[in-house]
């Protein structure tokens, strides 16, 4: 491989890979600033899925015929790509799921129902996406465990000084943590929190949905027990995500969904389970979606995760001061140093829906709402925020158009 450490990302060139940018919205070029919700898809991914359907599609794993073998090879090849992408030791630890929500539900049910009870504490954070919050709140309730959340301070960072006091009334069993906040862009100190939680015998369940598309994720270095990420936020299709889990934990866990493919032997009396990771993959898998995810992994890896991270930092350094110059605009979350390419803000009491609607008329797509972060919105004291988020195809002039649009919002509501 060439020297990638300083490889520079050429967003303008990459953009040509994305057919969606060939259209205009309300007569303006599309400025898509909503990649934290879902990313756009390059031809390489769309083409890989179409080619797979046109040349190699069949159901997988049990076909004796040539086509079935090729489809299986493509599917399992995607699993190997996912393994290498997050530096897992083995593909036995790489479970395909629908998305991160499904990955976390799998852990919450399959691990949580068997391992949680009264006196146990499940600790999430106030900045968790509902996907790593609601399943734990629910399973804690079902099992009699206590559900708590690490508070967020006014900078949008986790308050870590009173961690011990937070859990001193019980046994910490689960830390449910996001790597990067989908609302604030906060990058959390995962290694520090993971060693703290491990010292107390807990497992760490990491939501890497906003991290894996934008920075290198190494599951062995992170020191967590489960890590979820999803394809559609990293140039891949919807309907395919990954749960990585430590093999010894996955081995000991009960299955979650039951049915076809996840079995070893079924009799009237009992059923035994397939080996990892198939034990957790009941039913026909999203086969072409997995192939698409594999192509997306190739795509972002070729661009380089280090290069993507550096480029988004440049965009942040460009955007944060320009947004701060808009009178009445308040940015939530930490300074550029501790932040990924996500900026949530409010503007002089104008409702985020009105902001997003006016921006849309200039072809600028941003998200307005609670971003599946209702506890965080309560903490920030707002019902909703407006959020702009970046990816490898974002251009600085799109940030200029966002800022110009916000000035227009101010004029409209002056």
């Amino acid at each position: 491989m060439a020297v990638t450490a300083e490889a520079k990302l050429d967003a303008r060139k990459l953009r040509a890979d994305f057919p969606i940018f060939e259209q205009e919205i309300h007569g303006k070029p599309l400025a898509y600033l909503d990649s934290a919700a879902s990313s756009q898809k390059p031809r390489q991914v769309l083409g890989a899925m179409t080619e797979f359907y046109e040349t190699s599609y069949a159901n997988i794993h049990r076909g004796v015929y040539d086509l079935g073998e090729r489809a299986t090879e493509a599917f399992e090849g995607a699993r190997e790509k996912a393994r290498a992408f997050v530096n897992a030791e083995t593909t036995h630890e790489v479970v395909f799921t629908r998305n991160v929500t499904a990955a976390i539900n799998l852990v919450a049910y399959a691990w949580g129902l068997d391992n949680l009870g009264p006196g146990d504490i499940v600790l999430a954070t106030e900045m968790e996406h509902h996907s790593n919050f609601v399943p734990w709140q629910y399973i804690a309730g079902r099992t009699g465990a206590e559900f708590l959340a690490i508070p967020v301070d006014h900078e949008g960072e986790l308050q870590l000084d009173e961690l011990d006091a937070l859990v001193d009334r019980g046994r910490l069993k689960v830390l449910a943590l996001t790597y990067v906040s989908n609302s604030l862009g906060t990058v959390n100190p995962v290694d520090r929190l993971a060693s703290w939680a491990h010292e107390r015998g807990a497992i760490i369940v990491l939501d890497a949905a906003q991290a894996a598309p934008h920075r290198p994720v190494d599951v062995q270095a992170l020191g967590c027990d489960f890590v979820g990420f999803t394809g559609h936020k990293m140039c891949g299709p919807t309907g395919i995500g990954v749960l990585w889990g430590r093999r010894e934990l996955l081995e000991r866990m009960s299955p979650f969904e039951l049915g076809g493919h996840m079995i070893r032997k079924v009799t009237l009396a009992e059923t035994t389970w397939n080996e990892l990771p198939h034990k957790f993959e009941a039913g026909t898998a999203p086969i072409a979606e997995a192939v698409g995810l594999g192509a997306a992994i190739d795509y972002v890896s070729e661009v380089g995760l280090d290069a993507i991270e550096r480029y988004e930092r440049e965009l942040l350094d460009y955007a944060l001061p320009r947004l701060a110059e808009v009178p009445g605009l308040r940015i939530f979350g930490p300074p550029a140093d501790g932040r990924a390419g996500i900026i949530s803000f409010e503007l002089g009491g104008v409702h985020p829906h009105d902001i997003a609607q006016i921006l849309d008329w200039d072809g600028v797509a941003v998200r307005a709402g609670h971003h599946c972060n209702q506890p965080l919105m309560s903490r920030l004291g707002v019902p909703a925020t407006t959020r702009a988020s970046f990816y490898l195809y974002t251009l600085p002039e799109e940030i200029d158009r966002l800022v110009a649009g916000l000035h227009k919002v101010r004029q409209t509501f002056a």
């Binding site: 309300h26 409702h351 609607q357 008329w361 709402g369 019902p383 909703a384 509501f413």
Partner: protein, 143 residues
């Protein structure tokens, strides 16, 4: 600004910035509230009756310009009419007044106030909540 004129017509901004019938009726005959959980729009409506006639109606709330302006317009439209008449009010009548094209998501914002008002009339005068409102009532967390 011509496109914006289309979308946020002067009249909507005017109603948003200077809402008509804004406030609380102390000792109102009935009140109801609702919210749009999607964007956090909130509206409470207070009604006092003279017989079946809506003698006075006021609202308070917070949220996007569309939800608040549409509720303000509604206050002007219904004062002095009977509960039965307003309960049967077609939503198109309000949407015409709002007068801008609305996507399905923004439609819920525009109709929040009308939903809350019909609920208040239902509570106060037992007027029917038409079927078409049933789904919306759930979406809008009317109570």
């Amino acid at each position: 600004m011509s496109e914006l004129d289309n979308l946020y017509r002067e009249v909507i901004l005017d109603h948003y910035k200077n809402p008509r019938g804004h406030g609380v009726i102390e000792g109102a005959d009935v009140e109801a509230e609702g919210m749009n959980p999607l964007c956090g729009d909130e509206v409470s409506i207070f009604v006092s009756f003279d017989g079946d006639k809506i003698e006075d109606v006021k609202f308070r709330g917070r949220g996007c310009a569309i939800s608040q302006a549409a509720t303000s317009m509604l206050m002007e439209m219904v004062k002095g009419r009977t509960a039965q008449e307003v309960a049967a009010l077609d939503r198109e009548e309000l949407l015409e007044e709002v007068g801008i094209p609305l996507t399905p998501i923004r439609l819920k914002c525009a109709l929040l106030g009308l939903g809350v008002l019909k609920l208040a009339l239902h509570k106060g005068k037992g007027t029917p909540l038409p079927n078409e409102w049933a789904g919306l009532a759930e979406d809008l967390e009317l109570r």
